[in-house]
């Protein structure tokens, strides 16, 4: 992340995303697959590290081996196999959604994981349960803890979508997209940008 000063002089927190060029590796149609979508591939990888099935798949699209393959559903329009999708489909001022895998936080308590308030204060005889979850439910009826009760556990490392990020800048020659705000995941991770 970095900061950019906007036209009115205000500082905008920004994230820089390398966006494309993505190769169209498959066009799915209503007739053949039952729904329409396009499949995009991004990021280079060595052919010796690519499964043979994928090598053949990429060869059909007339491209080299790629690292990530993602399908986007919706009307494929006039997309052609082997065509390129790059950052120029975005313009400053657009709002985009960004999907990524959030950073793993390990085993966390309910305060961090679910935003519980914890126990009010250190007084009234409390001494060791400041961040405890409190009651898990009622008593002899229903005499069980309901499924889905929010408790401590593995946190982060899940698919997260951040909606309505504003596009601040587009560098078409370097395939860079600068959006306002933060996106899920560590630096250098792969994300999906949806318009």
């Amino acid at each position: 992340m970095t900061s950019i000063f906007g036209a009115d002089g205000k500082m905008l927190p920004c994230t820089v995303l390398e966006t494309g060029p993505c190769v169209i590796t498959q066009v799915k149609t209503e007739d053949k697959e039952g729904y329409s979508a396009i499949q995009l591939a991004f990021g280079e990888r060595k052919e010796k590290n690519t499964p043979n099935a994928l090598v053949g798949h990429f060869r059909r699209a007339g491209t080299t081996s790629k690292r990530k393959v993602v399908e986007f559903r919706g009307d494929s329009g006039n997309a052609a196999l082997g065509g390129l999708v790059n950052v120029s489909i975005f313009e400053p001022g657009d709002s985009v959604d960004v999907v990524g895998i959030s950073k793993g936080k390990g085993f966390q308590g309910v305060v961090k994981r679910h935003g519980f308030g914890g126990v009010g204060g250190q007084t009234h005889g409390q001494h060791n349960r400041l961040r405890a979850p409190g009651s898990l439910g009622a008593s002899s009826f229903p005499s069980k803890v309901f499924k889905g009760m929010r408790m401590a556990g593995r946190t982060g490392g899940a698919r997260v979508k951040v909606q309505n990020l504003e596009v601040v800048k587009v560098y078409a020659d370097k395939n860079l997209l600068v959006v306002k705000g933060s996106v899920p995941g560590p630096k250098g991770s792969f994300v999906i940008v949806e318009k």
């Binding site: 900061s3 950019i4 000063f5 002089g9 500082m11 800048k169 560098y171 370097k174 860079l176 600068v178």
Partner: protein, 114 residues
């Protein structure tokens, strides 16, 4: 070049602020917009620290205003900074002189560089 560095350099205009560091006394000429009018306010005080790098670098200035300590944090790249005057260079032994907040009277002075 690193892509992040490229974006930072592309969006950070060239600034020619004097090379001040913590302990120096500076005057920041800061543009303030009120409605459509713009005026310049001078904030004069001692630099407590400089932190960050490139586009996100900031500095903290502390001054005493009617006996009350006031601190302001300015981004170095802020377009609202008209100019910075370096008034005196101080001699301090560390890059972050937060001890100045607790210091009063004689110990709150900073020796000037000669």
């Amino acid at each position: 070049m690193d892509l992040l560095t490229f974006v930072e350099q592309d969006n950070t205009p060239e600034r020619s602020l004097p090379a001040f560091r913590s302990g120096d006394t500076i005057a920041v000429h800061y543009k303030i917009r009120e409605g459509n009018k713009e005026r310049i306010q001078v904030f004069q005080g001692i630099v407590l620290q400089r932190r960050g790098a490139a586009a996100t670098e900031t500095f903290t200035v502390r001054k005493m205003s009617n006996g009350i300590g006031v601190e302001r944090i300015f981004p170095v790249a802020s377009p609202f900074i008209e100019k910075v005057d370096l008034l005196t260079q101080g001699v301090v032994r560390r890059s972050r002189i937060f001890y100045l907040r607790e210091a009063t009277g004689k110990s709150a002075r900073i020796k000037a560089k000669r």
